[in-house]
C-alpha cells in the first residue's frame, strides 16, 4: 500500500488526503443544525403513539396558549393549503400530517412552532388527540388475509392491503428448466427491516422571505435539485423563487432521498410565522419514521444438474412497504432493480414474482446503500448458491467458480433483461481465495470440527447495478436521470467544477477534483468543487444508488475533455501551428517532435481570457458544460470471504477475518475507495449479526433507539483485508463503475453463509438475520426465530 505524500501537488488519480477533512477534523463542518438565522423559530412534531387509529379530534388550544408558541399546525390546517397529502415517489400519496387516521407508530400528527426547541417540545404535550385505536396489520404475511384491517381506506374503493403484483423473466421457460432439472433446492428467507441510521438525523431550516418571496430551504437532502423541482410541482411554488441548499451532510445512505413531512412543515411554518423555522428530528424520530430498508420475505428456488451446473433461479417475494408506498427509487419497476437476482452466474432461465403490501409500519424500503434492492437480490442468490452447495455436498467456492460468467460472455444479457457491461469474475474470486488462504482455512476448519469447535467460512460473489440511469428507463416523477456538470478554468489556471450531486461523506470534494485533474492536468488542489446549492449548480438528480461517479463523474470527465479540446485550439493559435500538430501530455501541449515548444493548460487559460485574437468560432474563456445521460448502468462486482468462530455454548459469533476483493474499474482515489468498502463491510456485519427493526403485536416499533437498534462498533469488526482487480466499464468515459454501495450489498450474505457453514455439524440450513446469539442457538436446535416480530 502506498502512503499519501503530503505537500506535493496531485495530478489525476491516486491516493491523496481528502480535501474536506481539513474542516471535518477541526469540527468546522457546517450541517443543517449549525444553520442559525436571525429570528429563527423551532418546530417539533407530535407523533402517533399508535400503529393504527382513527383520529376523532385534535385539541390544540392549550398548546396555542403556551407563551412561547407561535403556531400550531394540524392536518386540518394543511388541508386548507392543499398540502395534507403529497405524492410519493412511487405512485402513491403520503400524509404530511394525519387527517383521518394514523397508520404507523411515529406518524406525524401535528407541528408546533415556538421560540425555542424546548418550548416546542413542551407544547407537544399540551396537544390533546382523541384516538380510536384500530387493530393493526403487523405481520406482512397476514396483510392479504381477507379479514385483515384495511389500512388505506383513504384510497377510494380500496378493500385490501395490496399494492402491486409484478413479475420479471419468462415464467414458462423458467418452469420448464426447473421441471427438467436434476436438483431443485428451495429456501424461505427474510431480509429484515433495517435502518440506514445516519449519524446526522434529518432536518431542515426554511425561510420564506416575505419581501422578495424567495423560499430558501437548507435541508438534509441527497438530491437538492430533485427536491426543488418537487416542491415547485407539489406546492405550486415558482421554481426560480426556490433555493435548496444541502450543506454538509452527516451520512445519507438513501435515508435522505425523499421529502419528509418535517421539511414541508418547516416551509409551512415559515410561511405562517414569516420567520425562519428550523426542524431537526431526534434519533428515535429518525429510526421510527424515516426511510427504512428491505423487509423482503423471499422464497427462493435454484435448479441445477447433478454435476453442479446451475440452470435457473426463481423467487417469490412478499414486500412489506409500510403504510404508504414511498420507496425512493427512480425505476419503472415496483421492486427496483431486484430482478438482477440472477447474480453473477450463467443461467438459462430466471423468474421473479413480487407482491407489495401495506402494513402499519413506517413507509420506505429503498435505502441503506441498497442500490435499489440489489442488496436483497444478491442476498437471495448468494444464499441459494450456498444452499445448493450444501445439498450437492460440494465446496461453495468450487460451485461458484464453475458457474460464474466468463470474461468472454460480456457484454452479457441476463434472463431478466439486464446488460452487464464488463467483468472478469473468476479472477476476482481467485484473488479473494488466495488472500484468504482458502484451502488452509478449510483444513483448519476440519481440524476444529473434529474437536467440536465451530468455525465457518462464507463466500459471496456479487454483481452491483449502479449509475442510474438511462433516461429511457428511469425517472423520478418525470425527471430524467441525466446530470449536469460545469467546469470553469479561471484566468490563472485554477478551476471550479459545479455538480448536481451532493456528497454525504463519500469525499466528492476530493474525487471530483481528481477527475478534472486526471483529464486536464490541473492539480487536484487547484480545483474547487461546488455542490449542494441549487442556485449555484447545474440540474441533476443527486447522490444515491452509487450514481455519482458513473453519472456525474462521466459528466465531469466529458466537460473536462471539452476544456482540453478548446485549449488545444487556443494553444495551436498561441504556437502558430495546427491543432492536430500538437501533442497532449497531460497538462501541456507541445508541438509534435519538438517538446520544447509547448504551452501549459495554465498558460492557455490566461491567453483564453486575454487580448489575443482567438481562432474563428472560438469564444473567449475556458469553460465547458456537459449533461450526461448514461447509455447503460455500470456493474461493479466483487468476491468476499468471511471467516467466523461461533461459541458452541452461547451461540455468539465472532467475525475473525473478512477478505474483500472489489472491482469498480479504475480507482480515482484508492484510499477513499477503501474507506467506502470498510464502511460497507461494517454495515454488512451489522445487518447480518445485530440490526433489525421488529414490531410487537400492537405495532410498537421495537428498534426505536440506539439501545434497541444496534449498529456495530470497531470491536465487532475485524481488520478488513481488501484487494482489487480492475475491469473498466466500456461505456464510461474513464471506465469508472462506482463503489459506494458495493460492500453493503455484497457483505451480508458472506457473513450469513459463514455462520451457517459453522453450524453445519448441527444440520442447519438457514436462519434469518440478524444472527444474534439467541438466533444462532435456536438455529442449532432446529428452531430459528422470525426476526420481524417480537421475540416470544
Amino acid at each position: 500500500m502506498t502512503t499519501v505524500e503530503e505537500g506535493k501537488a496531485h495530478v489525476g488519480f491516486g491516493r491523496m488526503l481528502r480535501k474536506e477533512d481539513a474542516r471535518f477534523l477541526r469540527g468546522k463542518g457546517n450541517y443543517v443544525d449549525d444553520i442559525r438565522l436571525p429570528g429563527m423559530l423551532h418546530g417539533a412534531i407530535l407523533r402517533s403513539p399508535h400503529a393504527h387509529a382513527r383520529i376523532r379530534s385534535i385539541d390544540t388550544s392549550a398548546a396555542e396558549a403556551h407563551p412561547k408558541v407561535k403556531a400550531v399546525v394540524t392536518g386540518a390546517t394543511l388541508e386548507t393549503l392543499n398540502l395534507a397529502w403529497i405524492p410519493s415517489l412511487s405512485h402513491d400519496v403520503v400524509a404530511v400530517l394525519a387527517t383521518d387516521k394514523v397508520r404507523f407508530q411515529g406518524q406525524e400528527v401535528a407541528f408546533v412552532v415556538a421560540e425555542d426547541r424546548y418550548s416546542a417540545r413542551d407544547a407537544l404535550e399540551l396537544i390533546d388527540v382523541d384516538y380510536e385505536v384500530l387493530p393493526p396489520v403487523v405481520d406482512a404475511k397476514r396483510a392479504l388475509d381477507p379479514d385483515a384491517p384495511v389500512i388505506r381506506d383513504d384510497i377510494e374503493g380500496k378493500k385490501d392491503n395490496y399494492i402491486f403484483d409484478w413479475e420479471a423473466g419468462d415464467k414458462a421457460v423458467c418452469d420448464d428448466v426447473f421441471a427438467k432439472a436434476d436438483v431443485v433446492v428451495s429456501q424461505e428467507m427474510l431480509y429484515p427491516r433495517v435502518h440506514p441510521a445516519p449519524m446526522e438525523t434529518c432536518g431542515a431550516v426554511a425561510w420564506m422571505d416575505p419581501i422578495d418571496q424567495k423560499l430558501t430551504i437548507w435541508s438534509t437532502t441527497q438530491a437538492p435539485h430533485a427536491h426543488r423541482t418537487l416542491y415547485a410541482l407539489v406546492a405550486g411554488l415558482p421554481e426560480h423563487k426556490l433555493r435548496v441548499i444541502s450543506p454538509d451532510i452527516g451520512g445519507g445512505f438513501g435515508n435522505k432521498v425523499g421529502i419528509y413531512p418535517g421539511y414541508v412543515l418547516a416551509i409551512v411554518g415559515s410561511i405562517l410565522t414569516k420567520a425562519p423555522v428550523k426542524w431537526m428530528e431526534d434519533r428515535s424520530e429518525n429510526l421510527m419514521s424515516t426511510s427504512f430498508a428491505r423487509d423482503y420475505h423471499m422464497r427462493g428456488e435454484i435448479a441445477a444438474t447433478r454435476e453442479g451446473k446451475i440452470l435457473g433461479v426463481r423467487v417469490d417475494v412478499l414486500a412489506d412497504h409500510g403504510a404508504f408506498n414511498n420507496t425512493a427509487q427512480p425505476t419503472k419497476y415496483p421492486a427496483g432493480f431486484f430482478h438482477v437476482f440472477t447474480g453473477s452466474y450463467d443461467l438459462a432461465a430466471a423468474h421473479c414474482h413480487v407482491r407489495g403490501v401495506y402494513t402499519n409500519k413506517a413507509p420506505g424500503g429503498v435505502a441503506y446503500a441498497c442500490s435499489f434492492r440489489v442488496t436483497e437480490a444478491v442476498y437471495l442468490v448468494e444464499r441459494m448458491v450456498d444452499r445448493l452447495a450444501q445439498e450437492l455436498g460440494v465446496d461453495p467456492a468450487e460451485l461458484r467458480m464453475k458457474n460464474l460468467l466468463r470474461p468472454d460472455q460480456f457484454p452479457h444479457v441476463t434472463p431478466t433483461g439486464w446488460e452487464y457491461d464488463s467483468g472478469e469474475y473468476p479472477r476476482a474470486l481467485q484473488l479473494a481465495m488466495d488472500i484468504a488462504g482458502y484451502d488452509e482455512l478449510r483444513r483448519e476448519q476440519a481440524e476444529k470440527r473434529a474437536r467440536g469447535e465451530l468455525m465457518g467460512i462464507g463466500i459471496s460473489f456479487f454483481t452491483e447495478t449502479v449509475g442510474a440511469g438511462p433516461k429511457r428507463h428511469m425517472d423520478i416523477l418525470g425527471l430524467g436521470m441525466a446530470d449536469g456538470c460545469e467546469v470553469r478554468v479561471h484566468p490563472t489556471g485554477k478551476a471550479v467544477v459545479r455538480l448536481s450531486v451532493q456528497t454525504q461523506g463519500q469525499g466528492h470534494e476530493t474525487t471530483f477534483a481528481q477527475i478534472v485533474s486526471e483529464v486536464t492536468g490541473i492539480p487536484a488542489e487547484d480545483v474547487e468543487v461546488v455542490h449542494g446549492d441549487t442556485d449555484n449548480t447545474p440540474f441533476g438528480l443527486g447522490t444515491y444508488g452509487s450514481r455519482s461517479t458513473p453519472v456525474s463523474g462521466a459528466a465531469a470527465a466529458v466537460a473536462s475533455r471539452r476544456i482540453v479540446d478548446k485549449a488545444r485550439i487556443i494553444a495551436a493559435a498561441m504556437l502558430e501551428c495546427a491543432p492536430e500538430d500538437l501533442e497532449w501530455d497531460r497538462g501541456s501541449f507541445h508541438v509534435k517532435g519538438d517538446p520544447g515548444t509547448s504551452k501549459t493548460i495554465q498558460e492557455v487559460a490566461l491567453a483564453a481570457h486575454g487580448p489575443m485574437d482567438l481562432p474563428d468560432g472560438v469564444e473567449g474563456h475556458l469553460d465547458a458544460t456537459c449533461v450526461y445521460d448514461p447509455p447503460n448502468l455500470t456493474y461493479p462486482f466483487g468476491a468476499y470471504i468471511c471467516v467466523v468462530d461461533v461459541d458452541p455454548g452461547t451461540g455468539k459469533v465472532a467475525v475473525r477475518r473478512f477478505i474483500a476483493v472489489d472491482d469498480c474499474g479504475p480507482r480515482i482515489n484508492p484510499m477513499i475507495v477503501e474507506g467506502q468498502v470498510h464502511g460497507g463491510l461494517a454495515d454488512g456485519v451489522g445487518m447480518a449479526l445485530m440490526e433489525a427493526i421488529a414490531f410487537d403485536e400492537d405495532g410498537n416499533n421495537l428498534g426505536a433507539s440506539f439501545m434497541d437498534y444496534l449498529i456495530p462498533t470497531s470491536l465487532e469488526c475485524p481488520s478488513w483485508e481488501t484487494g482489487e482487480t480492475v475491469t473498466p466499464s466500456p461505456h464510461h468515459p474513464l471506465g469508472l463503475k462506482g463503489v459506494g454501495e458495493s460492500a453493503t450489498v455484497g457483505s451480508p450474505p458472506a457473513v450469513v453463509n459463514a455462520v451457517i457453514d459453522a453450524l453445519a455439524p448441527f444440520g442447519v440450513k438457514h436462519a434469518d438475520m440478524p444472527l444474534t446469539p439467541a438466533q444462532v442457538w435456536r438455529a442449532m436446535h432446529g428452531n430459528p426465530m422470525r426476526t420481524d416480530l417480537a421475540i416470544q
Binding site: D122, D282, S284, T650, M690, T713, A774, R778, A790, I791
Partner: protein, 293 residues
C-alpha cells in the same frame, strides 16, 4: 421525545448538604451522579424530577477503593473506570474487574458510578449481580442517620431499593475471604449493550472442597440477583466439571427470565446455565490457586 422536561438544578458540596437538599425538595427531587441512567430517562420523559441535585462535587470524598482490615471499601462516587483500573479490586475481587470490562463503553464508564448503578437497580445491572455474588454490604445515610444493609435485602424489586427518597448511598463494602476467588461471564448482543444474561460466581475453597458459594445473575429476573438452589448444590462438595455443569443447569432452571428482543426465555435459561458453569470453573481454578481457564 429526547428533550427533558423543565428541571431545576442544585449542587451539593457535602453529603450533609445533599441530604438537606433532598429533605428540602422532597420526593420530586433526585440525586444525579454520572447521569447515565437518569438523563436518558429524563430525555424520554420517563423520569420527570422537578429538581436534580448534582453530587459530583462529592467525588473527592466518595470516590475511593480502600482496604480496611479484611474488607474492601468502595465509595459511592467511584466511577466504573476507576474500579476497572484498581489493582486492589483486581487482586481481591476479580469478578468486579471482569464485569467492569463489559459494562457499557468507555464513555459511560468514565462517568457512571457504583452508587448510581446500585440505586438505579436495573434488573440487568451487572454490578448488582456482582455485589450479590460478593455478599456486599451497602452504607446509606439520611436525615435519620446512617445504616448498613446487606445486599440481599437491598433491592425491593425492579428499579426499587431500600434507599429512601431523602437518603444517599455512600459506600459498598466487600469482605475479603481467605481462599476465595471469583469470576464474571456475560453475553451481550454487541459490545456496550446490556446483558442478555450474565453470571458471576464467588467460591471459597479449602483444599479441593468448596466451603462457600455465591452466584449472582443479571438480567434474568433472579430473586435478589441470586441462585440459591444452585449455590446449595455446591457447598461442601469438591469442585468438578460435572458439579459446575449441574449447578449451572440448576441456576438456569431457578431464574425467571422473560422473552424480549435480547432473546427468548428458553435461550436465556440456557445461557444462564452455560455462563454460571463457566464462571464457577474459573472462580474455582483461581481460588484453588490454579491458572484460570
Amino acid at each position: 421525545m429526547q428533550v427533558p422536561a423543565p428541571v431545576e438544578y442544585e449542587r451539593a458540596l457535602s453529603v450533609e448538604e445533599a441530604i438537606a437538599l433532598l429533605v428540602k425538595h422532597g420526593s420530586e427531587s433526585r440525586l444525579i451522579a454520572g447521569g447515565h441512567s437518569l438523563l436518558p430517562m429524563m430525555k424520554l420523559r420517563l423520569a420527570r424530577p422537578e429538581v436534580v441535585i448534582d453530587i459530583n462535587p462529592l467525588a473527592g470524598a466518595l470516590s475511593y477503593v480502600r482496604r480496611e482490615g479484611d474488607e474492601l471499601a468502595i465509595g459511592a462516587m467511584t466511577r466504573h473506570a476507576d474500579l476497572l483500573a484498581s489493582a486492589l479490586v483486581s487482586e481481591h475481587a476479580p469478578i468486579i474487574a471482569e464485569a467492569e470490562r463489559v459494562i457499557a463503553d468507555p464513555v459511560v464508564r468514565n462517568r457512571g458510578t457504583v452508587g448510581g448503578s446500585l440505586c438505579q437497580a436495573d434488573p440487568a445491572e451487572d454490578l448488582s449481580a456482582v455485589f450479590a455474588a460478593l455478599g456486599a454490604t451497602v452504607r446509606i445515610r439520611g436525615p435519620r442517620g446512617e445504616r448498613s444493609v446487606d445486599i440481599d435485602s437491598f433491592h425491593t424489586g425492579p428499579y426499587t431499593t431500600v434507599v429512601e427518597p431523602d437518603e444517599i448511598l455512600t459506600e459498598v463494602r466487600v469482605r475479603i475471604h481467605p481462599g476465595a476467588s471469583s469470576a464474571y461471564e456475560k453475553v451481550e448482543r454487541r459490545v456496550g449493550d446490556w446483558a442478555i444474561a450474565a453470571a458471576g460466581a464467588m467460591l471459597q475453597v479449602s483444599g479441593a472442597a468448596i466451603t462457600s458459594a455465591r452466584i449472582g445473575l443479571a438480567a434474568v429476573g433472579a430473586e435478589a440477583f441470586r441462585a440459591p438452589r444452585a449455590e446449595a448444590l455446591l457447598s461442601g462438595k469438591e469442585g468438578s466439571p460435572e458439579l459446575f455443569a449441574a449447578a449451572g443447569a440448576e441456576a438456569g432452571r431457578e431464574c425467571n427470565p422473560h422473552s424480549d428482543q435480547r432473546g427468548p426465555e428458553d435461550y436465556k435459561r440456557h445461557l444462564v446455565s452455560v455462563l454460571t458453569e463457566r464462571a464457577l470453573s474459573r472462580a474455582y481454578a483461581r481460588a484453588s490457586g490454579g491458572a484460570a481457564r
